[in-house]
C-alpha cells in the first residue's frame, strides 16, 4: 500500500495501536502513542523515524489505553503539544479512571495533560496536506477520524479495520444507542472517496468496500444477537489482558476476572453464565481459536 512519503505508519500489534507520523518542515505530528507498557519501544521507533526532526504535536483518534498510553512518555521526550478529541478532554484533564475505563478493564495508562482539543469538522495540516476531523462515535463516543480528500486517505482509528472494528463499549456497559452510532459512522465512511485506510490496528488497506460490507454484516449480527457481541468482547478483553500480563494462572482466572468489573458486568447483562462456566467457555474458545495455550497450569498468549 503506497502512501505519500511525508506519512509514515509505524505498524504495531493489538496491545499497542499503530503510530502514524507526519513530516512537516515546522515540526512533525504523531497520531496515537500505543499502550503504556510499550512506551520504550514507541520512543525508539519514533526516534528512528524522526531522524532528528522535531516532534511538535501528538494527537489521538480517541483516548483508549492502547492509543494514548504512551502520550506522557512521548511528551516527556519531545516536549510536544498533545491534542485530543474535544469530548475526551474532561476525562483526561481530571484523569477520571471510571470514564477512561482503566481499573474497570484492568488496563493502565500514564497520566498526561491536554494542550489542545480537536472538534469534528476541524481542519488540520498534517504532512503538508489538509485533513478534516470527522466524528466517529460507536467504539468510543468521542472518537475522531481524519480524512484527506486529494490523496483519498482515511485514518480510521478503531472505527474500521480491515476485518472488523473496535468493541462497541457503550452497548456493552449498558448505554444503549451505540449500535446506531456505529452504523452512522460506517455510513459516513461509505460516503467518502477512499483509496487507503490507515487503521488503528493492522496494515493500511485499500479494499474499503469489502471491509465496510463485512463491518455492516458484523454490526447486523450484533444488533440481532447482542450476546454475540458480549461473547466476542469477553474474549477480546481476556486476550488483551494476556498480552498485558504475558501469562495468567488458570486456577486464578476466576479471581482475575472478578478484579476487573467489566467481565462480570458484561456477563450479567448479556449471558448470565456461572463464573466457572464463563472461565471454561473463555479458555476453551480462545484455545480453539489459537489465541492462547495452556502450559503447566498457565494461560499463555499464543505467538
Amino acid at each position: 500500500m503506497s502512501l505519500p512519503p511525508q506519512i509514515r505508519v509505524l505498524q504495531r500489534g493489538w496491545l499497542s495501536s499503530n503510530n502514524i507520523l507526519f513530516y512537516d518542515e515546522d515540526g512533525c505530528t504523531l497520531v496515537d502513542s500505543g499502550y503504556v507498557a510499550h512506551a520504550a519501544q514507541t520512543l525508539l521507533l519514533l526516534q528512528h523515524a524522526l531522524e532528528g526532526k522535531p516532534l511538535a504535536r501528538l494527537i489521538n483518534t480517541h483516548c483508549h489505553s492502547d492509543h494514548m498510553g504512551g502520550n506522557a512518555a512521548v511528551q516527556r521526550a519531545y516536549g510536544c503539544r498533545i491534542g485530543v478529541p474535544v469530548g475526551e478532554a474532561p476525562a483526561i484533564a481530571a484523569w477520571d479512571d471510571a470514564t477512561l475505563m482503566l481499573s474497570y478493564t484492568g488496563q493502565s495508562a500514564e497520566r498526561f495533560g491536554v494542550d489542545d482539543t480537536i472538534c469534528a469538522g476541524e481542519r488540520l495540516k498534517l504532512g503538508g496536506l489538509d485533513w478534516e476531523a470527522l466524528a466517529a462515535p460507536g467504539h468510543d463516543p468521542y472518537a475522531l477520524m481524519f480524512y484527506q480528500a486529494e490523496e483519498r486517505i482515511l485514518i480510521s482509528g478503531d472505527a474500521l479495520w480491515q476485518n472488523g472494528f473496535g468493541l462497541i463499549f457503550s452497548e456493552l456497559v449498558g448505554q444503549a444507542g451505540a449500535f446506531a452510532e456505529t452504523r452512522s459512522t460506517l455510513e459516513v465512511i461509505s460516503r467518502l472517496d477512499i483509496a487507503t485506510v490507515i487503521p488503528g490496528h493492522g496494515a493500511p488497506f485499500g479494499s474499503v468496500g469489502r471491509s465496510l460490507q463485512s463491518a455492516f454484516q458484523r454490526l447486523d449480527a450484533y444488533e440481532r444477537e447482542p450476546e454475540k457481541l458480549a461473547r466476542h468482547a469477553l474474549k477480546v478483553m481476556l486476550s488483551f489482558s494476556l498480552m498485558i500480563h504475558g501469562r495468567i494462572e488458570l486456577a486464578a482466572l476466576p479471581r482475575f476476572l472478578a478484579e476487573r468489573p467489566i467481565y462480570a458486568d458484561i456477563n450479567q447483562r448479556f449471558l448470565n453464565l456461572p463464573q466457572a462456566e464463563l472461565c471454561e467457555y473463555l479458555v476453551s474458545d480462545l484455545a480453539r481459536a489459537g489465541a492462547l495455550k495452556i502450559e503447566q497450569g498457565w494461560l499463555v498468549a499464543a505467538a
Partner: protein
C-alpha cells in the same frame, strides 16, 4: 526490545524492521518473516 539481541521481545523483529514494516513490499515482509524462527530458537 531485548537489549542483548536488539530484537522485539514479542515479534523478534529489529527496530529497523518494525519501523519500515509498512513500507516493505510483500516479498520483503516474507523475507523478514523467514528469519524469525531462527531468532526464536536463540532467545
Amino acid at each position: 526490545m531485548d537489549p542483548a539481541s536488539g530484537y522485539c521481545e514479542g515479534c523478534r523483529r529489529s527496530l529497523e524492521e518494525i519501523a519500515c514494516w509498512s513500507q516493505y513490499c510483500a516479498a520483503e515482509k516474507r523475507a523478514v518473516l523467514a528469519l524469525l524462527p531462527a531468532r526464536n530458537a536463540k532467545p
